[in-house]
């Protein structure tokens, strides 16, 4: 029974196919670390900022770029691939095998989730090695917040794919979702630097909450339960919606 929703051969094939997509490799795995490198080379970003509680901008941007990889994987990468699989009958073909199409969905989630984690490690490594950013003070809390953010994002990706009939639509919808998600994660302005009201609103979005949770854990505190609960609630909600509307053909 488990083999019909998860199959190692399907996962292996999807990993191989992922490696053949230069766009995915760049935007998911390298771009976030690269962005951190560029931001970190701005001298003022490496000076302690009282408005960030004495942290440097580059310190605050590490969790942001970690989230960025998660967002690009979940919102831009997966929905496009998955919608293409449905549009071209690849899911249908798989559905006639003993393995069923769900194996392809789970493999996609593992591949893009895994890519987001590699991207996160890369961003952490660049921060640590190039700009002397301390590694997360609360690694367990950090990992928990990161996993929750990845789950929420993959669920969002599955929902976007469910709502998009063609790859073209998935790309457009993905791009439309990408910018608000990046904004909430703090790519333009870290949540910590947002005005109170804005930060409060953003804190109720999955990526705003995840950014706050990652920020807490990076500083060495256990991430606030509210932030974790908000991300988890979004995950449940988005998963339920994706399950309700997802079509195999």
């Amino acid at each position: 029974m488990i083999a019909s929703v998860f199959h190692p051969a399907v996962l292996r094939a999807e990993i191989r196919l992922f490696r053949r997509e230069p766009g995915h490799l760049f935007w998911i795995m390298l771009f976030p670390a690269l962005l951190l490198g560029i931001l970190g080379s701005i001298p003022s970003f490496r000076e302690a900022d009282p408005s960030l509680g004495g942290l440097r901008a580059v310190d605050v941007y590490v969790p942001v770029t970690v989230l960025l990889g998660v967002i690009v994987a979940g919102v831009q990468g997966m929905p496009q691939t998955l919608t293409g699989y449905r549009e071209h009958g690849i899911l249908r073909r798989m559905a006639t095998t003993p393995v069923r199409a769900a194996a392809l969905l789970s493999a996609q989630m593992l591949v893009f989730g895994g890519a987001a984690l590699v991207s996160a490690l890369l961003a952490l490594a660049v921060g640590r090695l190039a700009f002397d950013v301390r590694l997360p003070g609360q690694p367990v809390g950090y990992l928990l917040a990161l996993l929750l953010a990845a789950l929420a994002c993959l669920a969002l990706g599955a929902l976007l794919s469910a709502l998009s009939r063609t790859t073209k639509v998935a790309t457009a919808v993905g791009s439309a979702a990408l910018f608000p998600a990046m904004f909430c994660a703090g790519v333009w302005l870290p949540v910590q630097a947002m005005p109170d009201l804005l930060a409060c609103v953003v804190g109720w979005t999955p990526f705003g909450a995840a950014a706050e949770a990652l920020g807490d854990a990076a500083a060495g505190d256990w991430p606030g339960w509210t932030h974790l609960a908000v991300t988890a609630a979004w995950t449940v909600l988005l998963t339920a919606a994706a399950a309700r509307w997802f079509r195999w053909e």
């Binding site: 019909s4 051969a9 094939a13 196919l17 690849i90 006639t96 095998t97 003993p98 393995v99």
Partner: protein, 319 residues
């Protein structure tokens, strides 16, 4: 293909059993009470005009669609409730599907082989299908015919007991089509049951042991190819150019006559053996010489048009 003992005597249970299948889309019935049984080891054809419900029928057999009503059994199992066990014995080639564009032929075969507990060796398969030069080619770079042949290979890679082939040779050139027909004959010889959906008469006539003609969601006829031709109204076709015009009333009174067609000076009649004799008698009696007289058996094509009533000479018979 693994050699296997003849299974014909394995028991009375048909390999595929479809009973009173019904399926509608948005209130419009696509399949409206279809029943048939495919016996072990035969090539069973489903023939019908476009939109007749052929693909919907086989998609229900494959478990891709849930019937509104009726019963389907594949080796005694329900394709929806028992999907996994059915999928292990049922190889499928869909009318329209693709693979991941960057997956190579070899990877696709290895992937699909991994879904089955005892897969067939895919190397001889690719040789039979003329794909051995394309093993490292990505799916997206294959020609239409190569894609089609790969899908046939994927349908067989699980070493199935029964294969469902939907529009098997569409997109193949005549040479590849004939090779594929030979392959189907080999598959049958190895004991695999074949359910073949087609609209190529020649293909159906050559490959199928029995054919169900489906029209507007119902089985219009179910017989051997020869039986279908025999039972069609104009099983024998007589054509000639008469040296003088024939009396129309006498022609229409010919026994067993199914249709009359005049084209230029040429007369084409269809009917039975009795009609042939009566025509010759008529010609002799009226001292009319028949130039270029041809008597031929009707083809499955004629039988098909007759059965589905889509068009054809039968409609020209005056009531």
């Amino acid at each position: 293909m693994r050699a296997r003992p003849a299974r014909r005597d394995a028991g009375a249970m048909p390999v595929i059993e479809v009973t009173d299948l019904r399926k509608s889309y948005g209130g419009r019935p696509a399949v409206d009470g279809v029943s048939f049984a495919v016996e072990e080891g035969e090539v069973f054809g489903i023939l019908g005009p476009n939109g007749a419900g052929k693909t919907t029928t086989v998609e229900c057999v494959e478990g891709l669609r849930v019937p509104d009503a009726g019963r389907i059994r594949v080796t005694g199992l329900d394709p929806v409730a028992d999907h996994e066990r059915v999928a292990r014995v049922l190889g499928v080639q869909l009318q329209q599907s693709e693979l991941q564009p960057k997956l190579t032929v070899r990877e696709a075969l290895e992937l699909y082989a991994a879904f089955h507990p005892r897969p067939a060796d895919w190397r001889p398969l690719t040789e039979r299908l003329g794909l051995s030069q394309q093993l490292n080619t990505r799916f997206g770079k294959l020609s239409g015919g190569q894609k089609q042949r790969l899908f046939i290979a994927l349908a067989l890679v699980g070493d199935p007991r029964v294969v469902v082939l939907d529009e098997l040779t569409t997109g193949l050139d005549p040479r590849a089509r004939r090779d594929t027909w030979q392959l189907i004959e080999d598959i049958r010889a190895s004991g695999v049951t074949v359910l073949l959906v087609t609209h190529f008469m020649e293909e159906a006539q050559r490959l199928c042991d029995r054919i169900a003609v489906i029209d507007r969601g119902r089985v219009a006829a179910l017989d051997t190819p020869a039986g279908l031709i025999r039972r069609s109204a104009g099983a024998t076709v007589i054509s000639f150019t008469p040296s003088a015009p024939l009396d129309e009333r006498e022609v229409n009174a010919l026994p067993g006559l199914a249709s009359v067609e005049h084209q230029g000076g040429r007369v084409t009649l269809s009917g039975t053996d009795e009609t042939v004799n009566a025509v010759i008698t008529l010609l002799a009696r009226t001292h009319v010489t028949a130039h270029q007289l041809r008597v031929t058996d009707a083809t499955l094509d004629d039988a098909f048009l007759d059965l589905t009533g889509t068009s054809g000479p039968t409609e020209e018979v005056s009531a």
